[in-house]
């Protein structure tokens, strides 16, 4: 077992299980809403912790737990939070009375924390308050030193329990090396025959779920104008695909979602693209591999955001010894053709419907600039809609069908948000969407 690679995951898993229960316990005691901040996993030494929690006026409650699972739990009550807790529970008459109350609150929160992990692992866990009276504890660094945390610090899970206006308390939790070794070997209850080992289970699905959530956030927060979809398809034909904004957005979105370290999309042939993921994260996320995450992310983006059906095939995988994970993406022609045509294309095809023409004649009769005619013909030829031989141009049988279709498919003018691909704005929309989701009351999925 590689201990260091598991340490963060173990701490996060156990911290998440316990801290949400501690928050519920505090909420019950105060009869008030208590929320928890996103957890942070970081190496913290005593001095840093003093800075983070603001040492002055802080009341500390410390617990250790033991038996099958061991660990240490610290609650820091800043003075404002401590007074608020005191007021809610019973108006203490003195500092020592407040301290006593907070020790009791801490004990109950620690009890909930430990009960949650005890239930999760199906093992008994005893809680105790360490005897710190022997040492001279006058500061947070002194406290951590008394708990055996060296000057370099240890890996802490931390979160804050708070109201909308202020923090009730900061929760810090750590597992030392021996604690982690012990927790990894705890057998999980549940399976009727042989139980599972925590280290086998750790983080695999949760990591995949985090990526999928990010993908989902992007898909629900990105709106791609038809003009951008058209530019994407046309740039493949005209050799400017490298600079296409939609291409760059797809690459950026997949990297930010956590699919891989470097993602690049290349145009290979009409309606065919290659996506290359270097440093693929998802193919190793669950023991069986989860490369389909990339396929479904790309497939959903094309289908849900671009309204273009696709077939995606993984042609190379890092899990199977490849240098990178590579996917071949094939677009549905009819969907692509729905967004491909421009007004110029239709003018040209209307002329070519009557028969083969010389390029010069097309330019003359279309009344379009020569460059525009040339560029349109380049795109139409790339997609097999027209054929060119020297200066002669003719419509293909596919072109005849395409023209009927394109006359009806050519979209009306649309309002285009110029910043549709601005990643900072997309991230802002994701953030506000998440906030509004948190505010709305969650319902069991099948009551909706």
């Amino acid at each position: 077992m590689n201990l260091s690679s598991f340490a963060k995951d173990a701490l996060r898993e156990v911290g998440n299980i316990g801290s949400s229960h501690s928050a519920s316990s505090l909420s019950d005691m105060l009869s008030a809403k208590v929320s928890i901040t996103p957890p942070v996993i970081d190496v913290i030494a005593g001095k840093d912790m003093a800075e983070k929690v603001g040492e002055e006026g802080v009341i500390v409650s410390v617990y250790t737990f033991g038996d099958a699972i061991t660990g240490t739990l610290l609650f820091f009550f800043p003075i404002k939070g401590a007074l608020k807790v005191g007021q809610c529970i019973g108006n203490p008459g003195s500092v020592s009375e407040l301290d006593g109350m907070l020790q009791e609150v801490g004990r109950k929160m620690a009890g909930s924390f430990v009960k949650a992990i005890s239930d999760f692992f199906g093992v008994k866990v005893k809680i105790s308050s360490p005897d710190l009276s022997a040492g001279r504890i006058r500061s947070i660094p002194d406290l951590l030193a008394a708990l055996g945390v060296n000057k370099e610090g240890v890996l802490f899970f931390s979160t804050s329990l708070q109201d909308s206006d202020f923090t009730y308390c900061h929760l810090y939790f750590y597992l030392n090396e021996e604690d982690i070794r012990r927790i990894m070997n705890v057998e999980l209850q549940g399976f009727e025959e042989e139980p599972l080992n925590f280290s086998e289970l750790l983080g695999s699905f949760e990591k995949l779920f985090e990526v999928e959530e990010r993908v989902n956030d992007f898909l629900e927060s990105i709106t791609v104008p038809v003009a951008a979809r058209r530019a994407f398809l046309r740039s493949s034909a005209t050799g400017v695909f490298e600079d296409d904004r939609l291409r760059l957005l797809i690459e950026n979105m997949l990297m930010r979602a956590g699919i891989g370290e470097k993602v690049s999309l290349q145009s290979k042939a009409p309606l065919t693209y290659r996506l290359r993921v270097e440093g693929c994260h998802v193919c190793a996320m669950v023991p069986g591999g989860a490369c389909h995450t990339t396929s479904t992310a790309v497939g959903r983006f094309f289908m849900e955001n671009l309204k273009i059906g696709v077939t995606i095939r993984e042609v190379e995988c890092r899990n199977a010894g490849g240098a990178a994970c590579v996917y071949e993406i094939t677009l549905e022609q009819i969907d692509a053709f729905s967004v491909l045509p421009t007004a110029s294309d239709i003018v040209l095809l209307n002329l070519l419907e009557k028969g083969t023409m010389q390029l010069q004649e097309i330019v003359q009769k279309s009344d379009l600039p020569k460059e525009e005619v040339n560029e349109a013909l380049k795109v139409l030829e790339y997609y097999g809609i027209v054929q060119r031989a020297a200066t002669e141009v003719k419509m293909t049988p596919l072109g005849e069908v395409f023209l009927t279709f394109a006359r009806n498919a050519y979209p009306a003018k649309e309002e285009v948000q110029e910043d549709w691909d601005d990643m900072a704005k997309i991230e802002e929309r994701i953030k506000s969407r998440k906030e509004s989701m948190q505010e709305s009351e969650e319902k069991p999925p099948w009551e909706i």
Partner: protein, 172 residues
Amino acid sequence: MAEQEKLLFKVENVYFSTNFKDWKKIVLASTDLNVWIKTDKGWKKIPNEHVSISEIKDAAGGNSILVMVIDNTKTFIGGKKPKVYSLYNALMSVLPTASDTVGAIKFTDAKRLVLKALYHGVRRPENIMPLVKRDYDEIVSILEEFKREGICTEAGILTEKGKLIMMEEGYK
């Protein structure tokens, strides 16, 4: 679990149904040999070769439903969209799929494509064929089905019902 069985992942808080009405909250675990489903009655083990994935569908309220076939019975696993997609992505590497294309995922549907062609005025099967790149017989069969279901007329003109499907499903 047998000694050599290896856990791949475990998912909590998903819902299970065989009739799309009675949903039970379950825990689902996947190993290299079996799918394990935990209900209030305990764990049930189903060998991987008895389970196949049919499709994944989006449902109301940000939910998705994974359609699987377990012991020849159509089974639905539902839950929040990212969770069900994660489950689908993880299971796809382990379980056989009911898809006709080995190793590929299709985000498309021939019926949708034919409907789109009709909507844009391309009605003859021989003209639809090069646009949607499907077999002539498949297109004829879809057109027949559309006529039977009142989605298009004998002449291939979309009925109000057909137009409504185009709009509602966002096919346009």
